[in-house]
C-alpha cells in the first residue's frame, strides 16, 4: 500500500499531514480515537542525524503539549545512514535521543504505535519502530537487521547455506514473519479490511509493560529471553 492509501484508509475524514523530504509530520482526527499525531520516515530513506533531530523535536513538542493524544509513527526506511559525517557528529546519540523521546511519550501517557509499511533495518528500526509501545505491520513490510548477502559475507557462509538454515529458525533471517515470531511485531494488519478499526483496536490495548519477550515465547521464536529476564529479576530481588 502507498502512504496515501494508508492515510486515506486510517483517516477517512481527512488529515493534515505533510511529507517533507523523507519525513512525515502532522495530525488527523480518527473516527473513534479522536486526535492522532502522525509522524514518520518514508520512501525507504536512511535515518541520519539530520532526520532524527527533526523527528525527535516533533515528539518532544507533542509531549510538552500535554494532550496525551496517541502518536502514530509510520516507517518505511532503510538502515541508519552509513556515512563518515553522521558518525563524526555522533549518530548514536541522535538515534538514541529519538528512541528516548518516543519512550518518554509512551511513559507520559501518549499511546505510541508504529506502523511498518515498507522496509526498515538496524539502527533506524531500533530508533523508530522498536521504540514505540506497540509495533504493527502491513503485509509486504520487510524488516531486517542485515540483508542475507551482507550476512553471508560477515558469517563467511554461502548464501544457500544461510537460506537453508533460515528455514529451520526465525531467529536470524530478515523478514516480517520472523519478526512476528520473535515477538517484535504485535500483529500484521489485514490490508483487505478497513485500517481505521484496526488502529482503534491497537489503541484500546491496555498500556503496560514490555511484553515482547513473552510474545516471542508464546510464538516459539524466542524461547529463552522472557524466562531468563524474569529469572534475573527474581534472583536480584532475593539476594
Amino acid at each position: 500500500m502507498t502512504l496515501d492509501d494508508i492515510l486515506a484508509g486510517l483517516f477517512p475524514n481527512g488529515s493534515d499531514i505533510g511529507v517533507a523530504g523523507a519525513m512525515i509530520s502532522g495530525s488527523a482526527i480518527h473516527p473513534g480515537a479522536g486526535l492522532v499525531h502522525v509522524l514518520g520516515i518514508s520512501q525507504g530513506q536512511p535515518l541520519g542525524v539530520d532526520e532524527a533531530i527533526v523527528l525527535a523535536r516533533r515528539v518532544i513538542e507533542i509531549v510538552k503539549s500535554g494532550d496525551r493524544a496517541p502518536i502514530l509513527f509510520l516507517v518505511d526506511s532503510a538502515s541508519q545512514r552509513m556515512s563518515k559525517r553522521d558518525e563524526l557528529l555522533g549518530l548514536s546519540e541522535y538515534l538514541a535521543h529519538l528512541a528516548k523521546a518516543l519512550l518518554l511519550a509512551e511513559a507520559e501517557g501518549h499511546r505510541t504505535v508504529a506502523l511498518l509499511y515498507g522496509g526498515s533495518a538496524a539502527g533506524a528500526f531500533i530508533a523508530t519502530a522498536l521504540a514505540t509501545g506497540t509495533l504493527v505491520a502491513l503485509p509486504g513490510a520487510h524488516p531486517a537487521v542485515m540483508d542475507l548477502p551482507s550476512m553471508a559475507r560477515v558469517t563467511k557462509l554461502p548464501i544457500d547455506v544461510l537460506k537453508a538454515k533460515a528455514e529451520a529458525t526465525p531467529v536470524f533471517a530478515p523478514g516480517l514473519e520472523n519478526m512476528v515470531q520473535t515477538g517484535g511485531i504485535h500483529v500484521i494488519w489485514d490490508d483487505n479490511a478497513p485500517l481505521g478499526p484496526q488502529l482503534a483496536a491497537v489503541l484500546q490495548r491496555p498500556q503496560g509493560q514490555d511484553d515482547r519477550a513473552w510474545l516471542g515465547t508464546e510464538r516459539g521464536g524466542r524461547r529463552k529471553a522472557a524466562e531468563i529476564t524474569d529469572r534475573v529479576v527474581a534472583l536480584a530481588a532475593a539476594s
Binding site: 525527535a56 523535536r57 518532544i60 510538552k64 552509513m82 556515512s83 563518515k84 559525517r85 553522521d86 558518525e87 563524526l88 557528529l89 555522533g90 548514536s92 546519540e93 538515534l95 538514541a96 528512541a99 528516548k100 523521546a101 519512550l103 518518554l104 511513559a107 507520559e108 538496524a122 539502527g123 528500526f125 531500533i126 530508533a127 522498536l130 537487521v145 551482507s150 558469517t155 538454515k165 531467529v171 536470524f172 533471517a173 520473535t182 515477538g183 517484535g184 514490555d210 515482547r212 519477550a213 516471542g216 521464536g221 524466542r222 524461547r223 529463552k224 529471553a225 524466562e227 531468563i228 529476564t229 524474569d230 529469572r231 534475573v232 529479576v233 534472583l235 536480584a236 530481588a237 539476594s239
Partner: protein, 304 residues
Amino acid sequence: MTAATANTDSLSWYEASARQRIDALVDAGSFAEFIGPEQREMSPHLAIFDLPEQFDDGIVIGRGRLDGSPVLVAAQEGRFMGGAFGEVHGAKLTGLLRAARTLRQDALILFDTGGVRLQEANAGELAIAEIMRAILEARRAGVNVIGVIGGRAGCYGGGSLIAGTCSRLIVSEQGRISVSGPEVIETNKGIEEFDSRDRALVWRTMGGKHRYLIGGADTFVDDETLAFRQAAIDALKVTRGCGVAVLEAEQSRLERRLQRFGAARDAVDIWRALGISGPTDIPALPTDAFLAAANNRENADDAR
C-alpha cells in the same frame, strides 16, 4: 582490607577480561553473580552455525558494592563473539535493568561489543530495544544507569544506541562509539567514504577523545581500572532522571552540535572550531594535557 577498598593494583581496562574488569571496579570481594557460568545458560542458536557456545554467553551480571554502596553490574566479554548481543546475552542485561528499577539500585554497564550477534540477529535486535526501554524506565524511577566504554571491541551498532540511553558515559581513549563500524561503512559506501584500514581516521572519528570533546561522553579517564573505578564512584553522586526537561536539554545540545560542526569534514576541523590550539596534536596528547586542551569542549551537562 575493608569492604570499600579496591581489589587490585591498576591494570589496563582495554586488556582486561569482563570478569577482571568487574573485580577491579567494585569493592574487593563484593561481587555476586546472577546466572553464572555454572548454570550453563548458553546460546541455543550458535550450534545451528557450528559455532562454540560460552557458559555465560559473553556477559557477566550481578551485584557488588562500589565505595560501600550496592550496585548492579553487567560486563560484556569482547573476546567472545565480539561481545555481541544474542538472545541470552541480551535477556541477562534486560533482567538486570528491570531489577535496577524495581529495587531502586543504580546500574553500571561495561560495554565491549560490536553490536547485534548476526547468527541470532532478530533476537539480538529485539534485546537492544528491550534494554533501551528498561533503561529509560529505570532512569524515570530515579536510578542511574552508567555506561563504561574502553574495551577491545568498542561500543558499536545497537550497543552504541544503548550507550546513548544511559545517564552518563565514562570513556577512555580506546573507547570507540559508533553505530556503523568502519568496515560496514566501507563495504556499503566505498573506501572513498571511509577507509577502514586508516586506523588514525577510525580513532579520531569514533574514539573516546573525540566523543569527549563533542559532549558524547561525560568523563574521560586513563586506560586503567582504578581510574574507571573512581570515575564510576563520582558518576553515581548525581541523579537526573529522564523526563521532558532532560530530553529538551538534549535536543538543544544536539541541535547546537549540528549548527556548530555540521559542515566539518574531519574531526580535526571540529577540534579547531572548539578553539583548540594545535588540533592535530590531540591524538598524541597524554591524558593530563588532553584534559587541559579539552577545557572548552562541548559539555553534555547531563543533557542526555
